[in-house]
Symmetry: C2
């Protein structure tokens, strides 16, 4: 990315995609049939029969952050590619398994992998992507990273992966609980989303041999950006346009998910909060009734949940930028990461 | 294992268990609640409420092979411990996920984790063990392995893990297919069981800095030992005593699993082969009727499937020992691996 100083966020994402996709496809292409086809379907590279398509492959923000991270630490983006591939593999492992656990039928506007190929195959392909991730990092020594930095990168990847899995476990537990506090919700979201975004923002720099000061600043930037990203995700999960998000309308409400707007609304103490609580704890309340789901959305907004999550996204975004400025990166390095951060917080899908 | 030259196989297993279990428990203990409890339940360390127990934790042959592998290459068993932990984590990840896919309710004489804690939690705990495995290998640099050897070990672990997952994927596909040949079955079993046993037999030596000649000999030994082990497993899956195996009686027949005795029996061409084929392809044949399952077992034996699998176990065992002797290990190193191999092939559980 030598010539991308003033690129827009979509251009940065496109630029990064062109850089890491060949390595990602090579890693995934090593899987035996039918796992290569299932993985390719999930990534949007082929249809369910294995024929090439040009479906939506997702925003792929994490690999773009990895390449910018390598660059911010003075490395080339080539040195970041194994990190970009590894982080994207872990992210997609988690999507494949989460869709099974959450019973989601749609992702990126298409039927989810488990709903096309069955649960067992989708579990196995998720497992395979998870197993491929540290393997992808082993390529780093060929890209110019030292063995010691490669081992550091593997340590950060596996540790973030464990935290991500713990976050998903908490998320599932929260669906069965009442009275999750805003603080508990933020800890869960820090695990589920913050950990891997922090890893993405740091691992490129680590592969480029960055010192602890740089690596920690990028980690904090990524963690808070992850929390901002998740707050926006929670907002889109209730008020997003399904045509843009590619997900089913009101999926989070249907599952009575204790996302940030819901937790904040329930903690508000107003009449709307109490009415929402009654609705969500009523076992007779129908989760497949559009009218009732619309009522839940209205009550969450009336109880201040929407405003709280919007403010939280802004707060976390500001904290991320403050962490970034403490890293004293080059103007260009900071500018690019700032551009991408703004895009993630202001997105509509 | 400086003083275990003439130990019996059970004593070798016990010795190894005492060596690596603290490190395994430490790795698993890092998981957040409730995942630590679920993993501990699976390993037989605690009951479903988290209270300590002394349940059957499995044979744990793989970690014993890792420690013997380190020793055969001239290392201490301490240098093999991170490998033993990593391999045992991968093995148990696969058990957790396989039990879900196979719908097995019993393992080691206890209800399987998914049947106690639910599918989602069991998927996540399996994921966590898989993520912890390469992390465990990172400890190797503290145990005296070089960064380069640690990276080699991670490469072998992740590559074997992918092959194992591919083998399980083929195994599932075979359950829905008729006419799986003996050769196809052996390739599948080589992936599902051979790959990780080969890794176990090699990774200790790699961590101890072994050269390629030693590492390859141990790999071949482990691969063929794995095939012998799986042939015995297939035999126990039909004719084993549930009181000893800890698994449900005739589980493999109930699922119409195309295991080695079944594939060999179907390929036999006798009247019994044809009668078996008719039974297995009859959609009306009841998989929950003990009488019909007993008839399938009788036909598999009459068609030569039992004798074939017994002979195959002996063949693979002999090939494994031949590979071992090509490694020119010390008498003691070869003796210990030979003792353990004989135990695995002659076991009744």
């Amino acid at each position: 990315m030598a010539d991308n100083a003033s690129l827009s966020a979509p251009a940065l994402l496109e630029h990064s995609r062109a850089r890491y996709t060949p390595a990602l496809r090579e890693a995934v292409g090593r899987l035996a049939a039918p796992m290569d086809t299932i993985a390719g379907y999930h990534f949007g590279w082929n249809d369910r029969y294995g024929c090439p398509t040009a479906d939506d492959a997702g925003k792929a923000v994490r690999p773009a952050l990895v390449l910018l991270s390598a660059q911010a630490a003075g490395g080339t983006d080539k040195i970041g590619i194994p990190g970009a591939v590894a982080v994207e593999l872990v992210h997609n492992f988690s999507l494949l398994h989460d869709d099974i656990m959450d019973g989601d039928h749609t992702r990126r506007g298409r039927p989810t992998a488990w709903s096309v190929f069955g649960t067992a195959q989708a579990i196995l392909v998720g497992d395979a992507l998870l197993a491929l991730a540290p393997q992808a990092l082993l390529q780093a020594t060929e890209g110019g990273s030292s063995p010691a930095d490669t081992l550091r990168a593997i340590r950060q990847l596996t540790s973030s992966t464990c935290t991500l899995i713990e976050g998903q476990c908490q998320d599932l537990a929260f669906e069965k609980s009442d009275g999750i506090s805003v603080a508990e919700c933020l800890v869960m979201e820090g695990g589920k989303t913050g950990a891997l975004l922090a890893c993405a923002c740091r691992i490129g720099a680590v592969l480029a041999g960055a010192d602890d000061r740089i690596s920690h600043a990028l980690h904090r930037f990524g963690y808070h950006l992850g929390l901002a990203f998740q707050a926006v995700d929670d907002l889109l999960g209730i008020w997003g346009d399904p045509k843009l998000t590619g997900k089913a309308r009101w999926g989070d409400l249907r599952r009575r998910k204790n996302s940030l707007p819901v937790c904040a609304a329930l903690a508000g103490g107003s009449t709307a909060s109490r009415r929402l609580s009654d609705l969500l704890t009523d076992p007779g309340s129908a989760d497949d009734d559009e009218w009732q789901l619309a009522e839940r959305a209205t009550l969450i907004e009336a109880a201040g949940g929407r405003a709280y999550a919007e403010a939280e996204a802004r707060r976390q975004h500001a904290t991320a930028l403050a962490a970034l400025s403490e890293g004293h990166f080059s103007d260009r390095g900071e500018e690019q990461l700032t551009t991408l951060a703004a895009f993630l917080v202001n997105r509509e899908k």
